[in-house]
């Protein structure tokens, strides 16, 4: 690669000569051009290839589409059919319950883990390594592990309850509608609590040590320290974690797919599962796309709260990664 390659087309001139000759304005113009050249490829790739399919999906949601043949425009027909279908209404309710449980468990456990791992004790290093492991496990594998972990024939969870005398016979948790919902929530929260914990812990470690110390000297109890020092410091992170968890909860697919495929009955049929079935099992692309738009709107609304928050806050907060 030629080392002096310059993208701004003025390679014959060194920046020094340029700034000597025409001052900063020309240099600033070259800077602008260079910045633009760097940013354009990635930005246009995302604009075209995420923006395009998003618009296309919205268009599909107003059409009667199967994978073959013409796609007549049907207006709001798909949405009307969705709103009149009990399956969709049930699914929306189940998804909301699922997301709420998921957010509650993964956020509170994550906070508890972070507070624990922020204390000094022997074994803390090992504990911090343990914290990262569930996060490293892919969602689908989390679902597979938990499906068998709570299985009624071979599952260790049943074995544990049995050994402690809590049950006399193994319980098929996934065979029961509310049991299946709870277990799939817990399984997904197993991974997400770990991510939440990592983020909370990183934030806890940025608290200046003299802050809690000063509060102690002023006579604050442990609870008061938590309430008036730790919690206000954590509020921005808490916001980020909550938004991330809400979005992950609403979009969960893999764990359900591995554990119940939406069953028993429709008891764990989240909107994502409904979308998958409509599009890829029944080839109802129009209806499936309408569900996709609903999912997108939920994520967008939650995300908007986050972007607003992002620009309001002094420091910059972003959406966590998966």
């Amino acid at each position: 690669m030629s080392s002096d390659a310059s993208l701004d087309g003025t390679a014959s001139e060194t920046p020094k000569q340029r700034s000597v000759r025409s001052g900063h304005s020309k240099l600033a113009a070259a800077d602008r051009r260079f910045g633009l050249l760097l940013a354009i490829p990635a930005t246009f790739i995302v604009l075209l290839l995420v923006g395009g399919p998003s618009l296309q999906t919205i268009v599909y949601s107003f059409e009667k589409v199967s994978f073959i043949g013409p796609t007549p425009f049907v207006g709001l027909d798909n949405y009307v059919r969705l709103l009149n279908s009990d399956e969709f209404k049930d699914s929306f309710r189940i998804t909301t319950v699922y997301a709420a449980g998921f957010v509650l468990i993964s956020t509170s456990l994550g906070l508890a883990f972070a507070l624990l791992l922020n204390e000094r004790f022997r074994g803390r290093g090992i504990a911090r390594t343990l914290l990262i492991i569930p996060w490293a496990a892919p969602w689908l594998m989390v679902g597979i592990m938990w499906k068998w972990f709570i299985d009624a024939d071979v599952g260790m969870f049943n074995g544990l309850l049995y050994q402690f005398g809590l049950i006399h016979d193994y319980v098929p948790f996934l065979a029961n509608p509310s049991g299946a919902l709870i277990v799939t929530i817990v399984a997904a929260a197993w991974r997400q609590a770990s991510l939440s914990g990592l983020l909370f812990l990183a934030a806890l470690q940025t608290i200046p040590p003299d802050l809690p110390e000063a509060a102690t000297v002023d006579g604050a109890s442990t609870l008061q320290r938590f309430r008036y020092v730790t919690l206000p410091w954590m509020r921005p992170v808490l916001m980020v974690v909550l938004v991330t968890n809400v979005i992950f909860g609403f979009l969960q697919f893999d764990v359900i797919y591995a554990m119940t495929q939406g069953g028993p009955g429709n008891s764990t049929t989240l909107l994502s599962i409904l979308l998958y079935r409509q599009i890829f099992q029944f080839s109802n692309v129009g209806i499936g796309s309408a569900i996709a738009v609903v999912l997108g709107l939920v994520a967008f609304t939650v995300g908007l709260v986050f972007v607003k928050f992002l620009y309001r806050s002094e420091s910059v907060y972003g959406r966590a990664v998966e």
């Binding site: 920046p15 930005t43 296309q56 343990l130 592990m145 071979v154 969870f157 990183a202 972007v307």
Partner: protein, 303 residues
């Protein structure tokens, strides 16, 4: 009540010195009990999977359960690799795991490299230069993160089918690259922002070209950020299931495991062996590169 008051030393500063005070003991008990609960929560599902992978199916139904198999075996791994002599779980699905592991690796690395190259350039552009549209372009990238990948799969499915790219690694490299690119730009930019531009300005005065500065000076200084971003993107690609399931026939590990999971001919023990194999790479990466990964996660979320 009274005894607690007696134990409490007169000055807050002296409390720490009395290591065996009742308060200190209580604190230790609370911490170690919580630690045990935390460790059990994390480890039990993993322990169960690992032990199942080296157990014989007959041993799984023992009550009370065997927490460690009495007669450990490697048969399950042999079955997964398709080298089992008796072929207890004989199925044409056997021996596909190595192929899928390789494809997952190739796809993950390709997506990470693409992100660092194209995302890195864009992140540097947004970090250092103000140009027409720099603000709106960046806000657009942020907003695009909100679009759920799962919601817009149909256009990708149709486009890949029309172009014949369906069921090829390119389909996955392409779509994973798209969905991780905004994240990489966001992450890398936060790392670039933290670097002082003074060295770059000095190099400019010395006559180095901007691209050369980026390659020779900025990239090494931002190495932790590049490593963190590359690892996070790799793990994301390694984990992805929905697109891999729809766009390919079990090319990568997650859809292959999902197919094992739904096959009646596959025992849980064989599936557990396959699960262990496919958990080892991401868990090793996360543990070994813990510092980078956690830094990347908190840059993504908090910076």
């Amino acid at each position: 009540m009274t005894s607690a008051a007696q134990v409490r030393p007169p000055l807050p500063g002296t409390r720490r010195r009395s290591g065996l005070s009742r308060r200190g003991v209580l604190r230790s008990v609370v911490i170690y009990v919580s630690f045990a609960v935390f460790a059990a929560w994390v480890v039990l599902p993993l322990w169960f999977t690992a032990m199942s992978a080296i157990s014989q199916p007959a041993e799984m139904v023992a009550r009370p359960p065997h927490w460690i198999p009495l007669r450990p075996t490697l048969e399950n791994f042999e079955a997964v690799f398709g080298t089992a002599s008796k072929a207890r779980n004989s199925s044409d699905q056997n021996a596909r795991i190595l192929l899928s592991l390789s494809w997952s690796l190739i796809i993950g690395v390709s997506v990470a490299v693409l992100n660092l190259l194209i995302g890195g350039l864009a992140a540097y552009g947004y970090s250092r230069f103000r140009f027409p549209g720099s603000r709106s372009g960046y806000v657009f990238l942020l907003v695009s993160r909100v679009v759920p990948a799962i919601a817009i799969i149909t256009p990708f499915f149709i486009a890949f089918r029309v172009t014949g790219l369906i069921n090829t690694p390119f389909a996955l490299i392409f779509s994973y690259f798209l969905f991780t690119l905004p994240l990489s730009i966001w992450l890398l930019r936060s790392y670039f922002d933290a670097l002082s531009p003074e060295i770059e300005e000095a190099a400019m005065v010395d006559g180095a070209s901007r691209l050369r500065i980026l390659w020779i000076i900025v990239a090494p200084l931002a190495a932790p950020g590049l490593i963190a971003t590359g690892l996070l993107v790799f793990l994301e690609a390694w984990s992805e299931f929905f697109y891999a399931n729809v766009l390919t026939s079990q090319l990568t590990v997650p859809p292959l495991l999902a197919s094992y999971n739904s096959l009646q001919t596959f025992s849980w023990n064989t599936l557990a062996a396959a699960t262990v194999l496919s958990l080892i790479p991401p868990v090793l990466i996360a543990v070994i590169f813990q510092r980078y990964v956690v830094s990347g996660l908190s840059h993504g979320a908090l910076k």
